[in-house]
Every structure is written in C-alpha cells, then in structure tokens.
C-alpha cells in the first residue's frame, strides 16, 4: 500500500484530484480515446467476423494507428485519473476486472494482428477468416466492450 499512498500524495495526484479542471479534463480525454479505440478496433473485429465485406480486410490495417492513438490517450489519461485516488481505485474489484479485460483485449489484438495482417496472411489473402480467427475477433469485442462497462461501473461498485 505504501506505493499507492505515495502516488496519490504526489503533486500530480493532488493536481488531478483537487484542481477544478483536472479530473473532468482527463475524464473527457478518456471518453474521446475510448471512442477512437473502440471505433477502430471494433470495426476491424466486425470486418473479420464478415460484416462490411465491401471493406478490404487488409485495408483495415490502416485503422491501427487510430486504435493506438486512442489506447495511448487512455493509458495516459487513465493513469492520471488513477493517481488522483490510487488506494481507492486499486482496491476496487470493478477496476481490477477492467484491467484484466484490457490485458486480455491487448493479447487478443496482438494475436489477431499476427493472423490477419501478417505478411504471410497478406500473401495468402484468405477470403473469409478461419473460424478460430472469428472467435478471437468476437472475444475481442466482448473484452473491449466489457472494459467500457466495467470502467463506467467503478463509480457504483465496491
């Protein structure tokens, strides 16, 4: 617990928690980053699942930078929000579930990227994705939308 107490007692922790604009500003950035991340990653996953077949599958690789920008915005804004009340957030089960879902979503995205966007896959360019790949895409949607839900519910749960 020593580290968490130190963290929320740093000037950054105090700034986010006590300034008039700190918490709402980073929450706003967190919402915008969420829309970028879920929007782009969600579309890639839906495409792998067979929706929007008029979008070239390999072309959706161009959405990855947007997903990364969204992820980075949220890693930074999320860390700052965490800093404002580190002991509370760390002890929240919903927060822990959210973190697990993000890790699972990240691993999932890495596996999906290797399967769908790797050069070998590009050369072969299989038209419909393999069933196992579709399962990865479907679980990715569950993990990321689950993370959104858990994130919102932190405020209402122990």
């Amino acid at each position: 617990m020593g580290f968490l107490e130190w963290l929320q007692d740093t000037w950054v922790g105090h700034l986010v928690a006590e300034s008039l604009w700190g918490y709402p500003l980073f929450e706003t950035i967190h919402s915008i980053g969420m829309a970028m991340l879920i929007g782009s990653l969600g579309l890639i996953n839906l495409r792998v699942l067979g929706f929007k077949p008029d979008l070239p599958l390999l072309g959706t690789r161009e959405l990855l930078p947007l997903a990364w920008i969204g992820f980075t915005l949220n890693a930074i804004s999320g860390s700052l929000l965490f800093t404002s009340d580190a002991v509370y957030f760390f002890s929240s089960y919903t927060f822990r579930i959210k973190m697990v879902l993000i890790v699972l979503g990240g691993i999932n995205a890495a596996i999906l990227g290797r399967r769908v966007f790797s050069d070998a896959a590009a050369a072969g360019a299989p038209a419909p994705a393999a069933p196992s790949t579709k399962w990865i895409a479907a679980s990715s949607l569950v993990f990321w939308f689950g993370a959104v839900c858990a994130g919102r519910l932190i405020a209402y749960t122990p």
């Binding site: 915008i32 579309l43 947007l66």
Partner: protein, 157 residues
C-alpha cells in the same frame, strides 16, 4: 421549470430511482452508444479528410447504420438519465451547451448527407470529396468532440 418538476416525478423517473442498477445501466449504455456514434463518425470524417485511403470512401460512408444505432441508443439512454434528474440537468449550463452542439452537429450531418446525395455518387465512388465536404467533415469532428466534452462536464458544473 414546472415541466421539469413534472418530468422528474413521472413513474419512469421513480422507477429509475427505485430499481437498483437502472441508472448505472443507462449510463453504461450511454458510453457504448458514444463509442458507436462518435467512433463511427470519426472514422467516416477522417476517411473523407484522406486518412485510410485503402478503405473505399463509399464503404466507409456505409458505416452510417452503426452511427445511427449509436445515436438512437444515446437518445434513449440520455432521455432516461435526463428524466431522472430533469430539474438539475434542465438548468445545467453544460447540458444546454451540449444540446446546442448536438443541434449544430446534426445540421452539419444533414449538410454532409445532402452533399452526398447531390453529387449523384460521383466523388463518393471516385474517393475525391470536394473541399466543401472536407469542411463538413472537419466541423463534424470538432462539434462531436464538443458534445462529448460538454456532456462530461455536466457532472462538474
């Protein structure tokens, strides 16, 4: 104000107050709708502005049903949240600014849609949107980000 008081005392508002988890559920739904609505619009606008050129413009404009789904989810969940706290939200300056931005963003989306229809599909298929349409796309990004920002700020004003 009388209307807001009445709204806050309807059976719907009372149900949201008494049934556990209803308010957080609507709030969570509002965030999922936000992801679909703003996520989808952002992708379309960025494509119009030239990002992701290997994705056909026509197909990206074809994402509009997802945007509409997100919009409808948020009109419903947002109305429920509003009814619950009508007197507070209805007089909240951030809420009024948010609604103003929504109307402007909506009119801007109509202008975009009109430009797509008027073109007869020529620049849509060719993937070469005219400057005016790029202007609509830029304005759309700005207005929707303002909607999200003012919406989030409602809790602090």
């Amino acid at each position: 104000m009388e209307f807001l008081v009445w709204l806050e005392n309807t059976w719907i508002a009372n149900a949201i107050r008494t049934i556990p988890w209803l308010y957080p559920t609507f709030e969570t739904g509002h965030y999922i709708g936000l992801s679909l609505l703003v996520g989808g619009i952002m992708l379309i606008d960025l494509r119009v502005l030239g990002f992701g050129r290997s994705l056909p413009l026509k197909s990206m404009i074809g994402l509009l049903p997802f945007v509409w789904a997100g919009f409808l989810i948020n009109v419903f969940t947002g109305s429920m949240l509003f009814i619950y706290g009508a007197t507070g939200f209805g007089t909240n300056p951030a809420f009024l600014v948010k609604m103003t931005f929504m109307v402007i963003a909506g009119l801007n989306a109509l202008a975009f849609d009109l430009a797509v229809r008027r073109s007869g599909g020529t620049w849509v298929v060719a993937g070469t949107p005219p400057t005016l349409v790029k202007g609509f796309a830029t304005a759309s990004l700005v207005f929707w980000l303002c909607v999200v920002t003012t919406g989030r700020w409602m809790a602090y004003i």
